[in-house]
């Protein structure tokens, strides 16, 4: 899950506490995770908001905390326009690397939950890059419905 998706839960759900509780269960069950760089990005862009507070609360319960160095390096060397050269906390390349490493480990159903769906002036969106790498993506709404929950 990327930081835009976590913020989206906070800003678009009818009851974000309830949704975050469900997400916490998914994190504990190793069905959902986010990388360390997402936590740092949330702290910078949404300090004091429900999204970073939730991420900080559950971060120690994650089973998987991010991509190994080799996977990060592969993404950075092989994926064009995924790095925003002037944004020190942008987690996008690490989210992609995390998903790619899990996929390469043979996990059968890796899906990136992202609201980073539109290309922007300084880099491609996470969704665009995932499509290029054949990594499935869902929006928060799609994920919630796929999990059988009402949204928003």
């Amino acid at each position: 899950m990327d930081s835009a998706a976590i913020n989206h839960v906070a800003s678009h759900s009818r009851n974000y506490n309830e949704v975050f509780n469900r997400l916490t269960d998914l994190v504990k069950g190793a069905e959902l995770t986010f990388c360390d760089q997402v936590v740092a990005e949330l702290e910078r862009t949404a300090e004091g908001e429900p999204g970073p507070l939730w991420a900080a609360t559950v971060r120690d319960q994650r089973v998987d905390k991010g991509a190994p160095y080799a996977a990060q390096r592969w993404v950075l060397q092989n994926v064009e326009d995924i790095v925003d050269e002037d944004d020190p906390v942008d987690a996008a390349p690490y989210v992609v690397a995390h998903a790619k490493s899990l996929q390469d480990q043979g996990e059968t159903e890796i899906t990136v939950v992202t609201e980073d769906t539109a290309d922007k002036p300084t880099r491609k969106s996470i969704r665009t890059v995932c499509e290029e790498l054949s990594i499935p993506c869902l929006s928060v709404a799609e994920m919630m419905r796929a999990c059988g929950h009402r949204w928003p």
């Binding site: 913020n7 800003s11 908001e49 790095v83 002036p121």
Partner: protein
């Protein structure tokens, strides 16, 4: 390293290693440790991911003309290079959003090109374009109010205006010409009177359709032209002659710095600008400019009473309402997601909400 204006020795110092070690990193014979790498990232102010890219970015962070300034001018300082990089990013984002929200203000009505006009004629044209009169200077409550007015008029016409801390060693400002979103940036180390002059000076560069980093006074022909342009714009000959005659008598010459003060205050310009103008028009004694302390154009240190130093307020002062309004329009139109708007404004959700309450409105075409 080139884009940040640093040498091997600087990187070695910040990373606490010998210069030979940095050379080994550059040649690929060695790699920094995690701690050294973090120091390097922090020093060069780039994301960690940047250092793993397969090649340097194709687009130069700083225009070549700035890195090798003409006419024996000095090379830009590290702080200036950071400011220029920030301004280029603002311009890149601004242009991208402008194309998507239909902001054609500059494209449809750019300041007319100077086309070899003498500065005085160009100043008349620019004043019409900016809808500017001497009353805007003399009728304002303070120099700060005049700066706000000129900034707002430029933004209304599609120019992005930045106020950046470029340091005491930094130039007074710079401009980045563009067909869609030109940028002028002013060094906040200087006081409001100096900033006003710099805004108009940079407008002169936009009329010349060139990028320019302005270091001190009149080092090149282009700089001299822009100085004369700004002087004609802000200190018209007839009005100045009238005031000198009124204050000191007909055919008088201003000889002392203290005599400069009321004139500079009335036209809302710095002592330096007024001295140069008086000398140029032979209304001031030769050498008057040299008698003014260099620091007279510097801002008094420390924020004024009530200055909001929260990150949101600082970013708004730096980037200007024009850029904020444009990015918010990008978000409103769906071209940018909320997260992206926050990223490009470098503020948090809470800070942006607070600015909304202070009536920072999205641009409307």
């Amino acid at each position: 390293m080139t884009q940040s204006g640093v040498e091997v020795e600087d990187v070695a110092h910040c990373s606490k290693v010998e210069p030979q070690q940095v050379s080994a990193w550059l040649s690929g014979d060695a790699q920094p440790t995690k701690t050294q790498f973090r120091r390097l990232v922090s020093y060069l102010k780039r994301p960690e991911a940047f250092f793993f890219l397969p090649r340097p970015p194709a687009r130069e962070a700083v225009p070549a003309a700035f890195r090798h300034p003409p006419g024996g001018m000095r090379e830009p300082t590290r702080v200036e290079l950071e400011g220029i990089r920030k301004a280029r990013r603002v311009q890149q984002v601004g242009r991208w959003v402008a194309d998507r929200v239909g902001d054609d203000r500059w494209r449809e009505n750019p300041v007319p090109a100077a086309n070899g006009q003498p500065p005085r004629e160009a100043a008349k044209v620019a004043k019409r374009w900016l809808d500017w009169s001497l009353e805007d200077q003399q009728g304002a409550s303070s120099a700060s109010a005049v700066v706000k007015t000129v900034r707002s008029r430029l933004e209304e016409r599609g120019v992005l205006t930045l106020q950046l801390p470029l340091g005491s060693e930094g130039g007074r400002g710079f401009s980045l010409h563009d067909e869609v979103k030109p940028v002028v940036a002013i060094n906040t180390y200087y006081n409001n009177e100096a900033r006003l002059f710099s805004y108009i000076h940079e407008l002169g560069h936009l009329m010349r359709r060139t990028d320019a980093l302005c270091i001190g006074f009149a080092a090149t022909q282009a700089e001299r032209w822009c100085e004369a342009f700004a002087a004609s714009f802000l200190i018209p000959i007839a009005a100045l002659r009238d005031r000198v005659a009124h204050l000191y008598g007909a055919d008088s010459e201003v000889t002392e710095v203290d005599q400069l003060r009321p004139l500079a205050a009335e036209f809302r310009v710095s002592l330096s600008a007024m001295a140069i103008r008086l000398e140029e028009l032979e209304l001031g004694r030769e050498g008057l400019f040299e008698s003014i302390p260099r620091t007279s154009d510097f801002k008094r240190q420390g924020g004024g009473p009530g200055t909001d130093t929260t990150r949101g307020a600082v970013r708004l002062r730096e980037f200007g309402e024009g850029y904020f309004g444009l990015v918010l329009a990008g978000e409103q139109s769906g071209a940018l997601r909320r997260q992206d708007a926050l990223r490009y404004l470098d503020v948090t959700e809470g800070q942006l909400r607070k600015l909304h309450h202070e009536n920072i409105e999205p641009f409307e075409s």
